[in-house]
Assembly symmetry: C2
């Protein structure tokens, strides 16, 4: 079984959408990525940091999903990262209400020895400096490194971000971020430019409009599942990333056909994520539900042109 190392925040989120609001619940990119990847036969090992205020039950939840949490530092005298956001209208816009970095402010990622046999590495959205530290501290060379980032880092850590982008195999961003990073409006042209920055593959996430996978010679489109109701989009992009790398790690194959299927698996898992608040629906996915959701994607997009 492949070893998948994930770095990302494990945090408190408080979310408000037109359908309701939550108290502080478990959130963070690392949480969503690891929970999503836990749907595959891989050894998922999480690197993160939380404060003394982080409930033991949340750590137990991660462990119960066979996620190795040896790499989660618990800083007893500090507080866990906290994000609060409010979604408007039709979920297309959100305001960040609160961002308390707390333990993330000077996160020094420690890689347990048991994580060094890393086959696949997922660098979840964090400062590019921390992402690079993780890359450097993992001594063997992973078969595939995926990096997720966001516009925030493009604005405040552009150079550091370009450096870490140059060191990975796959970059995932959303459409606006691809445009910002490349300075190009057309996603096709944006992809060409970004692939020149180093990665072999680029994934552009378009939310309800699906996601595109680009290599220098190929292009694949994975649809999003049209849904009657989206309750909470929080974590959907991280869930997508976790599904993508989880599928690849399970198949232990990095050819383009495997990456295409990984896009479908990723989209299917993201479609679960938005059905309830926070991680609620991710915790309910069974192999049977997952398989049936994949079949919905196959039905949605398969044709046999004559």
């Amino acid at each position: 079984m492949s070893n998948l190392v994930v770095v990302g925040s494990v945090a408190f989120d408080a979310i408000e959408t037109p359908f309701g609001k939550t108290d502080k619940i478990i959130g963070g990119a690392g949480t969503y990525i690891a929970l999503s990847a836990s749907n595959f036969n891989v050894n998922t090992k999480l690197i993160s940091v939380v404060g003394g205020d982080f409930p033991e039950e949340y750590l137990v939840l991660l462990k119960s999903k066979n996620i190795n949490i040896d790499g989660i530092q618990v800083l007893a005298d500090k507080k866990t990262f906290f994000w609060s956001g409010k979604y408007h209208d039709n979920m297309n816009k959100r305001d960040t209400l609160i961002t308390e970095l707390n333990v993330l402010a000077d996160f020094d990622p420690i890689i347990p020895d048991s994580y060094q046999d890393c086959d696949y590495l997922m660098l979840g959205n964090l400062s590019p400096e921390v992402q690079q530290l993780v890359l450097e501290r993992i001594t063997n060379k992973p078969k595939l490194i995926v990096l997720d980032t966001m516009n925030f880092w493009m604005n405040i850590s552009h150079e550091a971000l370009l450096k870490v982008i140059s060191m990975v195999d796959v970059l995932t961003v959303n459409d606006e971020e691809a445009r910002q990073l490349s300075g190009e409006y057309s996603l096709v042209t944006a992809a060409k430019r970004i692939l020149k920055m180093g990665p072999k593959y680029l994934i552009i996430k378009k939310g309800e409009h699906g996601a595109l996978l680009f290599s220098n010679t190929e292009m694949f489109y994975a649809p999003a599942l049209p849904m009657a109701q989206v309750y909470d989009p929080t974590g959907a992009g991280d869930t997508f990333a976790g599904g993508f790398i989880g599928y690849i790690a399970e198949k232990d194959n990095t050819d383009f056909n495997t990456l295409k299927n990984a896009m479908i698996a990723a989209s299917a898992l993201a479609s679960f994520c938005v059905e309830k608040f926070g991680t609620e629906q991710l915790n309910r996915i069974t192999p049977k539900l997952f398989e049936s959701r994949i079949q919905q994607f196959i039905n949605l997009s398969t044709f046999n042109y004559l």
Copy 2:
């Protein structure tokens, strides 16, 4: 060979985009639909009206594509419908600068006897009253009737529109129009409501984000081809409609698998349309180019999930 009857405007357009502007060129829903359908082995018969100012060469162009123009009335003492529009930014917004209805103001569609053997009927975007007149004046029952409309008619002819919608098999609208017509934001819920209005199938066009086909029990998504450059989106929706009905008429089959392939053919033809101003690129499509574009769609969206 199936007989396809198309009704729609044959008009002058003057278009401005960030890439340039045109003088008065040939345009109109009927033109785009018929040119698009002419890529299939069908007898395409166009019903429309133009003024005495309409250049003979444009009619010759349509005839050269094997489009029957016996149903185009030429009103010598009147002027052709004229539309002028300007696209902004990234083609997502356009302003209508001029709309001169002219001959369309009191268009009384005449159906030549040679059009009565209609197998497939495409009601292009026009007032719902005129669309209904055409429906009534074609005496045999077509195997499939497709109706295209737009928000304009939802605003000023809501009742007449609902009536004609109840009489057709397939309705095509864009995402905003589907929301307006149904009063629902989710396209899945919107589709459910609209299918209750009469049509067996609904197509929701999402421009650069592809198009969805709904029946009461099935859903299919056709991607749009990501493009390095979109020169002029004018007519893309009509080209889509013409490709959709053209493919179905050629196959002479209305099962869901045929409709799915028709969505791909429609998307491929629409992708040509936007590559140049007006109908320029549509006039250059060869069977070989068309086949190769279809292959791009297959490559873009085919996966074999394991």
